[in-house]
Symmetry: C2
Subunit: 80 residues, 2 copies
Amino acid sequence: MVKARVTVTLKNGVLDPQGKAIGAALASLDFEGVENVRQGKVFDLELATDDRQAAKDELNAMCEKLLANTVIEDYTVEIE
Amino acid sequence: MVKARVTVTLKNGVLDPQGKAIGAALASLDFEGVENVRQGKVFDLELATDDRQAAKDELNAMCEKLLANTVIEDYTVEIE
């Protein structure tokens, strides 16, 4: 069994309205000094293989096909 | 300036319909051996302070008040 974490974040320069809204909400809760907030997604996956390299290749393919919109998002794959 | 990453994930035992849907979608794309998928959120924040401990305390408070639903979610705070 391979356990992995995929983190998907917006590319630099891509507007993040959700992040902006969270920043405003934090300010309204009197949190000062919050200069920038960007939100992304994280996926924790368990794969029924012990081949770490095969798992890494498959996870990259999953990102390219489904987990990330590679036009506007970057992704990283970490295997435990 | 302090840069930090907050990762919010569902607690163990909490059902994750979104994760289940992603798992099914991956299977329909012929990705085999995907045993479990759980989705969470990641926030990248920039704080206008150089006091790392104060930033950590503030980030924890942000999680408790807004970024995480601590009834069903866990969170981690990493400062760069």
